[in-house]
Amino acid sequence: MVRGRSRYQILGVIILGALLVFANSRGWLRPLKDVTGTVVAPVANVFGSAGHSTGNFFHLLFAVKQIAQDNTKLENQVAELRQRLSEDAEMRRENEELRTQYNLPDSAKRTLLPANVVSYQPDNIRQYMTINRGSKDGLKDGMAVISGGSLVGKLSDVTARSAKVFLVTDPNFKVSGIDQDSPNRAAGTVSGHLGSGLIMDKIAQSDGVKQGDTVITSGLGGELPKGILIGQVQGVYQQDNAVFQSAQLVSDVKFNRLEMVFVVTGS
């Protein structure tokens, strides 16, 4: 049994902890978080860079065969994308001519702010990371974060000099998505699932969704800009007596190997 003075000291620690939780809920801890982030960030950067180099070294050692397979797959994709790029260039030219002819405003362009990944979540269940940009750089909660054109997550808990990015694979992550390649542009809700990656559900049974389709953000609700790539459909799950169908998505983003990401600050 804990005795005497130690009992009161332990009680003091518990009360202090409860007060800190209350203070955080009120937002009173933000200045302290700012100071802590500012002090720790340079050290975390050094360790993170060292970790990234070490991780790359071991990844190279154990993934040589996979790298060769990925290389072949990517070469094929590049050839296919070159073809699509030339077709898109024609469509863009035609789009601009029509806009000029009908005096329509230009479509919005996105502004991107680069940010370095400073640290990752300290456990293996929640999926988020910390970047070295904050409100001083114009960042706000809810802004989209992308890498290589694909959605990485959205901002949360923005302080003056840092921000948390909740990854799309976090179980709390949800966004409205559209299947770009389905005839009806099938809409659904994309959410992170522990162990299953990304799932797009609430898709109407009548919507034709197939493997390989591209899913993008729909922009509904104004939560994230429209048109950001989320992933490709890897599998479709249908049940005859169910109202909705769902699809498993796979993202091109290597979430555990990110060094730099881009925050969509304007669109």
């Binding site: 005795r3 070490t54 979540q121």
Partner: protein, 173 residues
Amino acid sequence: MKYVWLALLVVVTVVLQTSFFGEVRLAGIVPNLFLVLVIYIGLSLRANEAMTLALAGGILLDFASGADFGLRMAFYSALALGVMLLAETGADLDNLSVVLILTAGATVLYNLAVIASLATIHVQLNWWHMVTVVLLEVLVNMAVALLVRPLLVRILRRPSSMSAVALRNGGQL
């Protein structure tokens, strides 16, 4: 000076866990270095010292987490207290098996706490994947506890701390 070193140890552990081992994952798992440190702290230091360090490190991890503020602070403080109470039962705390069992048990409890925190939001979990992740994390943390033991025993069982061990053996914290 002792408290400076202990505070530095806590900060370095937290930074390593969130930055270096966020990139270098063992079997895809981030090792819970701070959990292992709290266990050794609970076995080696006085009650107020152990609880304070566990609380401070938990706060830093909560700052780094961005979600469920207070979860890690509460868990690690409770873990330090639990380890100290275990010391009162007369368990042979210098036995490596005790450390490894504590590490395994604390890892499972920590992950259960994080999963329980998700119960307030509507999420779907792949339970088989969760069990696999937790088991892997148990193995990784036990390996870490084994590897860091010589270093931590050397740092924490210094002459000024020996009195804490002696006091504990006398049945008082």
